[in-house]
């Protein structure tokens, strides 16, 4: 039996700091996806919403909130939370509903209205919450963890600040004409290296901003898709794996890694295992990918992903970048959308937005950033507290 579902429609709300309700962003993205699919909202049987922590009760019950805003139809709903991986959790639930025959057409929506500046934990005195404690006891913001990974690359592989800055220059160029991107401006290496240091060696322009935005997909069974279109883009795999013990790399929001004193470190590190699972399910490998959308929370982190998703061996990511392999026109462009670098992060929308970009590319609808002959693509993303996230899309 095929594990594929079709992506019938995609839609997004432009990213920015709009200062409005996340519901509005999600509804706009959903309407666009429904229109793109060529169906009616009343045809949707199941709604999966990616939750957000920051918008009160409606944020915690995202799917019902979007369903109400679009007009109650009695559709069944589910809401999922997996931090930055919330979107792929929603995709995975919708996919399972379709593959099990419980429904034919599902809508997946994620949207957020994010605060300015550093993400901070929930308020109050919460001494039993590691996310609260890491801020209280260490001041360990998200960029602190990104800085640790970046410096580790420099110490292990001799990566330079210029290497990291070149990722930003590339992504800024990719996102220049993307109508949904928040930042559409080209930068030089000098611009990036002149921006203020936030968490050494990472500067302001190399760290992902927090944004308002939304993204949505209409997913359906292959049978339903064949009634609507001849050659749909499909989801070939979804991975939502968690780490294997002992997880020997420090991860947000933890104070320490697992200890490897009582158990062998697994052969496949967590971040490698995220897409490994997806490749295995799809029966494809990194060599089959025409493009990738990876979670560039920092410019340096994008280089880690090249290795984690199998585009090259550990320590070779800088060469891949500097040879132009990951630039549009290169062997396997990464973050053709412009990535988080141009969008900023609207947490529950992010994994969905990555799939929107792959879909546009595979349909040949990506305009000036089109990758010629794109056949298959992979997303990689990771949510706080051990949420792996990867989707493989193919045509």
């Amino acid at each position: 039996m095929s594990n594929e579902v079709a992506i019938l429609g995609v839609g997004m709300h432009p990213y920015g700091k709009w200062g409005r309700s996340f519901v509005e962003y999600g509804v706009k993205a959903a309407q666009d996806a429904i229109q793109d699919a060529g169906i009616e909202w009343t045809d949707v049987q199941f709604v999966a919403g990616g939750e957000t922590m920051r918008n009160g009760y409606p944020g915690y019950v995202a799917a019902a909130t979007f369903a109400q805003a679009l007009g109650w139809t009695g559709a069944q709903v589910t809401s999922t939370y997996g931090a930055c991986a919330s979107g792929s959790q929603a995709i995975n639930v919708a996919r399972a509903q379709i593959l099990s025959g419980m429904c034919e057409v599902a809508l997946v929506v994620g949207a957020d209205a994010a605060p300015k500046g550093f993400f901070a934990p929930q308020g109050g005195e919460r001494g039993d919450d590691p996310d609260w404690l890491r801020f209280r006891l260490l001041g360990a913001t998200n960029p602190i963890y990104f800085g640790l990974y970046a410096r580790r690359r420099m110490e292990l592989y001799g990566s330079t600040e210029e290497d990291f800055a070149r990722v930003k220059v590339k992504n800024a160029r990719h996102g220049l004409t993307n109508e949904y991107a928040r930042y559409r401006k080209a930068f030089t290496l000098e611009d990036v290296l002149a921006s203020p240091m936030v968490s050494d060696p990472l500067r302001l322009m190399q760290i992902c901003a927090t944004s308002d935005g939304g993204a949505a997909l209409v997913l359906c069974s292959m049978e339903y898709a064949r009634k609507q279109t001849t050659n749909p883009v499909t989801i070939a795999a979804v991975s939502t794996v968690t780490p294997q013990f002992p997880q020997s790399v420090i991860e947000m929001p933890n104070f320490a890694t697992d200890s490897a004193a009582g158990a062998e470190i697994p052969d496949t590190p967590f971040k490698d295992s995220i897409t490994k699972q997806a490749y295995e399910e799809a029966g494809l490998g990194p060599e089959d990918m025409s493009l990738a959308e990876v979670y560039d929370l920092s410019s340096a982190l994008e280089l880690d992903w090249y290795e984690n998703i199998g585009l090259c061996k550990p320590g070779e990511a800088e060469r891949l970048l500097n040879d132009g392999d990951t630039t549009i026109g290169g062997r396997v462009p990464v973050n053709s959308s412009g990535g988080l670098s141009c969008f900023g992060e609207a947490v529950p929308a992010q994994a969905i937005a990555q799939v929107c970009e792959l879909t546009w590319q595979l349909r040949g609808q990506a305009g000036e950033r089109q990758i010629e002959g794109a056949r298959a693509g992979v997303t990689a993303n990771q949510g706080l507290f051990g949420h792996g996230s990867s989707v493989i899309v193919k045509r």
């Binding site: 005195e125 006891l137 260490l138 001041g139 960029p143 410096r151 110490e155 936030v198 013990f245 004193a261």
Partner: protein, 144 residues
């Protein structure tokens, strides 16, 4: 009047100022260490022992990586005014085979750090209020 020295978090480290240590637990079944303490059941999925006893972790380790805060972190961190940038190190403990985060002591900047550098645990002030000086663990290079 001298302020009362109070741990910023209860039970995570000893208050022996000459030779403080982080307090973790060790599994009697498989030998895995935990910090902060795991007290219910060993998280090694092939062990599952409930025999977890409190232990002091190694006071010395080597820097795995490091970075800093150039801007004040948001609440609940309590930043001094004016704010001074400070470094944070991820430190590998050989015996425990784990990496533990901590601020770097004595205002040592990132320029004074490198992977592999030996550091030891010290106690230092995290922040103060009218009555208390709240203590936290920090890493300090042994060569200083």
């Amino acid at each position: 009047m001298a302020k009362t020295k109070t741990p910023a978090v209860e039970g995570w480290f000893t208050l022996d100022e000459a030779g403080p240590a982080l307090l973790g637990t060790r599994c009697g079944g498989c030998g895995t260490y935990f910090f902060p303490k795991e007290t219910v059941v060993c998280r090694n999925p092939r062990c599952f022992s409930t025999e977890l006893s409190e232990v002091e972790l190694s006071r010395r380790g080597r820097v795995w990586s490091f970075t800093n805060n150039c801007y004040p972190p948001p609440a609940p961190y309590v930043s001094p005014d004016p704010f001074e940038p400070y470094a944070i190190a991820a430190v590998e403990l050989e015996l425990e085979k784990m990496v533990v985060l901590g601020q770097v002591a004595d205002g040592i900047p990132v320029e004074g750090l490198e992977a592999g550098l030996e550091v030891e645990l010290v106690l230092d002030t995290l922040f103060e209020d009218d009555e208390n000086e709240y203590l936290i663990w920090k890493w300090r290079p042994t060569a200083v």
